[in-house]
């Protein structure tokens, strides 16, 4: 069974991201890391191939520095990396990103394509479904757990009202939530071996992407603004009723 995992390098979520006011693009001059959400995807892919055989290929689109994120996934145990890096793709919107990734994925031998539910910088949350649409295969999203039997993938899917059990026939696109597993630390041997692993660097022409039509054909960012401040929370003073009110509150939010 072969798995493709889509990964992205993002500004370190521990330091607040900033947008360049002139280009409206995210500033990428600070510390960059493999998107923490993607570590769950890489781990899920590794667990699938450890159980069923095959190999994990990681696919990423992004600037040259994105190599570090690809290498981290290779150090964790992925067998091969693909990085599509081209100036014409700078600032791509979600659809262009999905087209580029889908084109690169088509060139791989795959049964499952794994992604995070959304990136930790763009937060559009639509790329996994777009990839599935472009590849014309099912999308199983927000998976909390996953298993494969023969050509059937079963996932428990987190929804607002509870957990759905979804089955799909391979090949599928699977988006996994944080917490689906515990991502492994790259071993020292993995880190030292990452550079020796095969790495493809296709350009847009290699992927027949001439008709994608630039980074953002479908969207234009006209302005950026700060998010509204969050309203203050409610402080419950305990006069004997506090526990009950907290339980009611949690029940109302369907947390318990």
């Amino acid at each position: 069974m072969n798995v493709v995992v889509c990964i992205k390098q993002v500004p370190d979520p521990n330091s607040p991201g900033q947008l360049d006011p002139s280009t409206h693009l995210l500033k990428r001059d600070g510390e960059l890391v493999l998107d923490p959400g993607d570590e769950f995807g890489v781990e899920a892919g590794l667990q699938l191939v450890e159980k069923h055989g095959g190999q994990v290929t990681v696919v990423s689109m992004g600037p040259e520095r994105g190599l570090d994120a690809v290498r981290k996934a290779l150090a964790m145990g992925a067998a091969k990396g693909v990085l599509i890096s081209d100036d014409s793709l700078r600032g791509s919107d979600a659809l262009t990103t999905a087209k580029v990734l889908a084109a690169a994925i088509r060139k791989q031998d795959f049964d499952v394509v794994i992604t995070a539910t959304e990136s930790t910088d763009g937060y559009t949350g639509v790329v996994p479904q777009m990839i599935a649409g472009l590849l014309d295969i099912p999308a199983v999203t927000f998976a909390k757990s996953v298993s494969v039997e023969g050509d059937k993938l079963t996932a428990q899917r987190q929804t607002e009202t509870g957990i759905e059990v979804v089955e799909a026939t391979l090949p599928v696109v699977l988006s996994v939530t944080a917490g689906v597993n515990e991502p492994r630390y790259p071993s020292l041997k993995g880190i030292m071996g990452a550079k020796q692993k095969p790495l493809d660097r296709p350009g847009p022409a290699d992927l027949n992407l001439e008709d994608v039509g630039g980074a953002s054909t479908g969207q234009r960012i006209t302005a950026i603004d700060s998010a509204p401040e969050r309203a203050a929370g409610e402080i419950i003073k305990d006069e004997g009723e506090a526990a009950k009110r907290i339980v009611d509150f949690l029940a109302d939010k369907k947390v318990i």
Binding site: R71, K72, A75, Y185, P186, S187, L188, I191, A194, K195
Partner: protein, 342 residues
Amino acid sequence: MRFDLDDDQRAVRDGIDSLCRSAWSPASARRHGAGDDDAAALWRELVAAGWPGIAVAQAYGGQGLGTVELTLVCETMGRALAPGMFFGNAAVAALVEGAGDDDQRQRWLPGFASGEARGALGSLQPDGTGLALDAEGAAALVLVGGGRAMLVAAGDCQLEPAAGVDLTRRLSSVTLTGGTDELRGDLGTALERVEVALSAELVGVAQRALDLALDQARSRQQFGRPIGAYQAVSHRCADMLLDVESARSAVLAAAWTADHSPQALPFAASVAKVSAAQGAWRVTTASLQVHGGIGFTWEHDCHLLLRRAVASGHLLGSPEAHLDRVAAARGLGGAAAVPTAQ
């Protein structure tokens, strides 16, 4: 000579950094010092990922990387206030590999490299007893003192908890109850490598103290402005950065020297140890000042860093002893004695 890390070295640094950030915290360090079992889980993670053998030769099951890579790991460990297991094991492995004979290497290095049979470092006191760091659970200890290094199997000694200034590592007094095995090879060079690794840890401690001070200087407001806007604070922070960067440069230079120009190592190692020990002392005390009253509290991490800086600063030769060695190496008098662990 190029003092820029290559891709592999940056990957090594980032790899150990992500492990330390998720598996260890100052709170874990406090619990470890107080006798809880937190460090065992960290050690298991380190072993599973193959870190203990980073600088041990491949012939003994290690990764065979250099002193530069070892110092990158040690700096990260210092920054995380990690317990002494990794450093002790790496130190003991370096001593046995550099100064042990074939039998000693064959017997001990595979266990040190895999981490399955951990080594711990200690000092040999004039009365024949020892003081060792994070030695509980170790398979063997190397006690260094008076120009000698004695290898002791765990079954041939007794450990008793001892009080130390550092609250993030456990100190044990060591009573020898069986035989010891002396390391009779080139102890000087092996010890100098260990001094460089220890200096790297001190750079990490200083860096953490600087990071905390900068956070405080940016966030703490007085008279309507962040305190970092006042020159008394910002100049102090600039001096701290100078100390951290100078020490880091000296450590990297010494690590490179250890791997590429070992005849110059005695000088480079002592320069690194002096820069790191004095720098870490100045930076941790300055950080405490930047923090003001909160920095003096038991709950704040400042004193953990300061105590670690003091303890490691005097381990494997005080700054004064290393300054003597620097002077001697430049023909300024004084004898170049091998520092003793204290």
